[in-house]
């Protein structure tokens, strides 16, 4: 697991590069599915997408989304586009420990999501290589297409990890699109 703080700035300060070595110190394990899992993802601002590239630390928003460039998939965040309440309205409170507090979570509570990268990871391993880095390329999804641009400021999360699974079937869905 890598915290957001441990991610380093990538090309032209438009991306984030995280070290997610696989096989790591624990060695390789059998898997039928591999996910890059993000926790604590912010969705309070503009909508945005995050493209993932394996072992391509110089990837940018202009990098083609192709196997040759290590593209592994993306996720899209449907954003709230700013705060529309009074001061403090969009501050997410800490989870309550009060068992009588039956209120639902704050609408801007950060979310968890994942991108399934099974095939992209297998391509890396097929050549005898190892996964070293995952480059995160955030691009804004503004109302006007002409305004869309690399937007590293939109991607705020708690941590990211690579999780492999041995599932009952190899027919599990891929998140890549």
């Amino acid at each position: 697991m890598v915290t957001a703080a441990a991610a380093r700035t990538g090309e032209a300060e438009q991306t984030l590069v995280v070290d997610l070595p696989y096989p790591g110190e624990a060695g390789e394990t059998a898997y039928t599915r591999a996910d890059v899992v993000f926790t604590g993802v912010d969705h309070s601002s503009l909508s945005y997408e995050v493209r993932l590239f394996l072992n391509n630390p110089t990837a940018t928003a202009a990098t083609p989304r192709t196997e040759e460039h290590g593209y592994a998939g993306r996720f899209t965040i449907f954003g709230h586009g700013g705060c529309y309440g009074d001061m403090g309205h969009c501050d997410v409170p800490a989870p309550s420990n009060d068992p009588t507090d039956l209120r639902p979570p704050h609408p801007l509570t950060p979310l968890d999501t994942y991108v399934t990268i099974t095939e992209a990871l297998r391509r890396v391993r097929a050549d005898g290589g190892t996964l070293q880095t995952v480059t995160l390329v955030p691009v804004s999804i503004t109302p006007s297409r002409a305004d869309r641009k690399p937007a590293p400021e939109l991607l705020r999360f708690a941590d990211v990890s690579l999780q492999t699974y041995l599932t009952a079937t190899e027919d599990d869905p891929e998140a890549s699109y």
Binding site: Y84, P143, D147, D172, P173
Partner: protein, 266 residues
């Protein structure tokens, strides 16, 4: 029983009924009208919509249910016809036609200049909220005193592919299915652009309802597939504010009075 159809399969009469129902709903300024229902998704506050949680699918099913009922009511009242009916069509953004043409023709501005209520929706917010939207989300709504929604769609071939949806339909857990489908849903909001690209005002665009009918239909198709399972038990009795409906009450669409026309995906 209402029958939701593919948006491109509506008859001329069905399309006219849908347009008339939306137009009549635009004219209602109370809690039966379009502005009320669109506002429940975001602005004006409070925002009730569920995103990034396992209530995403049940909440939006309830949302469509109550809006569809409101459309039927307003159409009957407008026409003084107690048997009038209208159903929300779905927009199949995976279809070959969508990947060539983008949005369904019925939701586009008419070439002859005739107003089409499905091409844009009025954004009936107070001046304070309108200013915030214009400041935070330029390009989402038109300028002037009576703004309507704007779209700025991406190239049609960037819409989700049937193969992607088919992979999602092979999910074996509710959380996996919901998370993957919501991700695709997010991408389509961004593909349409304009008002649809932001939570607070997305539902003011009439295409919102056709997009979500597609999402709801995919959930239904997964439910009746061998892999479909219910949401986790601890969620089944959760209320779906602001409606008097629980997750459990959304699970069987036949009890909600509608069904989906048959169509093979892919």
């Amino acid at each position: 029983m209402g029958l939701r159809k593919n948006a491109v399969a509506l008859s001329a009469t069905e399309l006219t009924d849908l347009q008339d129902a939306f137009a009549a709903a635009y004219d209602l300024t109370d809690d039966r009208g379009y502005g009320f229902h669109a506002g429940l998704h975001g602005l004006p506050l409070p925002s009730y919509c569920e995103h990034g949680t396992l209530l995403f699918l049940p909440w939006h099913r309830a949302y469509l249910y109550f809006f569809e009922r409101a459309l039927i009511d307003v159409l009957r009242r407008t026409r003084d016809n107690e048997t009038g009916a209208v159903s929300l069509p779905w927009w199949d953004w995976t279809s070959a036609a969508s990947h060539t043409d983008g949005l369904p023709p019925g939701y586009l501005a008419q070439g002859d200049g005739t107003a089409n209520p499905l091409a844009a929706g009025p954004v009936t917010l107070n001046s304070s909220d309108l200013q915030l939207v214009r400041d935070n989300l330029p390009g989402a709504i038109t300028d002037g005193p009576n703004p309507v929604t704007i779209r700025d769609p991406s190239p049609p071939d960037e819409l989700p592919r049937a193969s992607t949806v088919n992979r999602v339909l092979r999910s074996v857990t509710f959380s996996g299915f919901s998370t993957l489908l919501e991700g695709i849903h997010n991408g389509v909001h961004g593909w349409v652009g304009g008002a649809m690209s932001a939570v607070p005002i997305a539902a003011y665009d009439p295409i919102f309802w056709a997009h979500h009918a597609m999402i709801d239909r995919l959930w239904y198709l997964w439910q009746i597939s061998p892999r479909g399972v219910n949401p986790p038990a601890q969620l089944l009795d959760r209320a779906l504010a602001p409606w008097p409906m629980t997750v459990r009450q959304t699970l069987d669409i036949s009890t909600l009075g509608y069904e989906y026309a048959a169509q093979v995906i892919g």
